[in-house]
Amino acid sequence: MVTAASSSAAPVSLGVEVGGLRLQNPVMPASGTFAEGLARVMDLNRLGAFVTKTITREFRAGNPVPRVCETTEGLINSIGIPSKGLDYFRDNVVPFYRAYSPPLVVSISAPTVDGFASMARDLTIPGVAAIEANISCPNIEEDGRSFAMEPRLTEAVTAAMRRATALPLWVKLTPNTGDIVAVARAAEAGGADAVVVANTILAMRIDTETFRPKLGNVLGGLSGPAVKPIALRMVYQCADKLAIPVIGCGGIATAEDAVEFMLAGARAVQVGTTTFVRPMAMIEIIDGLAAFCARRGIADVNALVGAVVDGNAAPEEAEALL
């Protein structure tokens, strides 16, 4: 699809192919930071795709409040995946998005490999364009170890979902692992069509007046501009090592941030916390991307993907030298 850049007459092509889907532009919301309410603020048809809050098969209440706390240029959340369950979602949420043209990506979570697979199967229905697996949750069959912390568990859960659905399958990784490249490769080996890099970084704050943790759940996940350079680094590391596309996520607030992620190798980007602060941010980023490309004489946004100039670098040994 061709979109006219706002600052120039030259048409810029913003369309991207990502993990089995063709998107009109590379900008979409991050799971858990988007819902029907945003339709009151913007034209949802402008977005590259929709990504829902993670759902579980059964009803879940979520965590005790306070569920969020603010930090320097960031947010720590421990919402806890409240979910009305798969049936409610299929009957009430999927129909809402039928009125719009961007593809609907459904984020799922489950406590077991089979749980993930069966959810993927049961969501292989009209109106659902792709599955995003939020595998940062614990695997109760493996002592509660998080799937996304370990390549072996990641490959197993991805392969099981792969067998269960023909829908495009995106796997969302956690930045809390010591080796995200190995986990990303495991997702690819398991049959993922794309990886999302990354979820929130485990963090906390303590109220110095009450001595209590600022979150009901004590620990939460950090997001927002504070984490951007960390997520960007992970995208850069993964993009270089994978054949499947990487979707960048973490602290993206401006078109320039989106460009930075695409240069690092992201085929598309997800915008999360920024939407809470500037609800029109995704639209501004889409327009800003077109304007950026137009200004730089770039006809197709895909030309940005992985275009970082890093000739004399040996990134893998980088920590050696810090």
Binding site: T33, V68, R278
Partner: protein
């Protein structure tokens, strides 16, 4: 019967388009040490805000104070003719401290109107509003809306001291029966407030009760509404991130069909039926 607050089909602009308006500060005055009154040029549709709806304010960074999230504030006044929007707020912490640095002529963004406001039933002839602190800021536009509909208003305004009785003149201006109750002379004690409510009920001047700003007053109002079998609404607060029903951080517990369920204050409220709301 009252319409359900959840269907979002209340009498006012609860479904009005939400916009992130770049407002201009017209005036910003200290009401007292703790409270500030902020008047903004905001234009439509922001000024179509219904009583009880709120806005999400992008507090400016100032010095060491760099609030990241927005801060929710009730509509204190919204005048679509003048194009002005007003807030009354208490300096609490980082965000409100940063807000205080706004000067006339400065501009900053407010997102709204948001949430579900108060509901007024055409059959009511006389209502009671019962508030404390900044809660009165939330109730003042409701009282004015009631007056416009020809509904009589009794305003029980609770405060620590006489000088902290907020907005009494706004209630008086619409002809409300204003009843300040104070900690300083003991008149704010629950027994006394209950007595006032009782006599209002006996006089047939309590078709519905509205409250905001104090958990103790909420419990009084809830008990009173139950006893009298009348309708009641409460405007609640909870920490917010998105303000648009997306993040689920602003939940509170509500009693629905005998079960405790989570609802989002920003989306399902901030105004809730007294029957559902639980003590906090």
């Amino acid at each position: 019967m009252l319409q359900s607050l959840e269907t979002r089909s209340a009498w006012t602009a609860n479904d009005a388009p939400v916009s992130d308006v770049e407002t201009i500060v017209l005036s910003h005055e200290a009401v007292n040490d703790e409270y500030r009154h902020l008047v903004l040029r905001a234009g439509r549709p922001a000024t179509l805000a219904a009583p009880g709806q709120f806005f999400h304010l992008l507090c400016p960074a100032s010095g060491q104070d760099k609030p990241y999230l927005r801060r929710p504030m009730s509509t204190y006044k919204a005048d679509p003719e003048a194009g002005t929007l007003e807030f009354l707020y208490k300096i609490a912490g980082l965000g409100t401290r940063a807000l205080t640095t706004l000067k006339p002529g400065d501009s900053f963004r407010v997102l709204g109107p948001l949430g579900v406001g108060f509901t007024l039933d055409d059959s009511w002839r006389s209502i009671v509003v019962l508030g404390r602190g900044v809660g009165l800021a939330t109730l003042a536009p409701l009282a004015e809306a009631a007056a416009r509909k020809g509904i009589g208003v009794t305003a029980i305004l609770s405060a620590r001291r006489p000088d902290l009785v907020m907005s009494a003149e706004r209630f008086a201006a619409i002809g409300a029966d204003v009843r300040p109750v104070l900690d300083s002379d003991g008149s704010s004690a629950p027994e006394n407030v209950r007595a006032i409510l009782g006599s209002l009920a006996r006089e047939g001047r309590a078709d519905a009760i509205f409250t905001c700003g104090s958990n103790r007053l909420f419990r009084l109002a809830k008990d009173f509404a139950t006893e009298q079998g009348i309708a009641g609404q409460v405007a609640l607060e909870q920490q917010m991130a998105c303000g648009l029903g997306m993040c689920f951080c602003c939940v509170r517990k509500f009693e629905v069909d005998g079960e405790l369920v989570d609802k989002r204050v920003c989306w399902d409220g901030p105004v809730f039926d007294l029957k559902e709301a639980t003590s906090w």
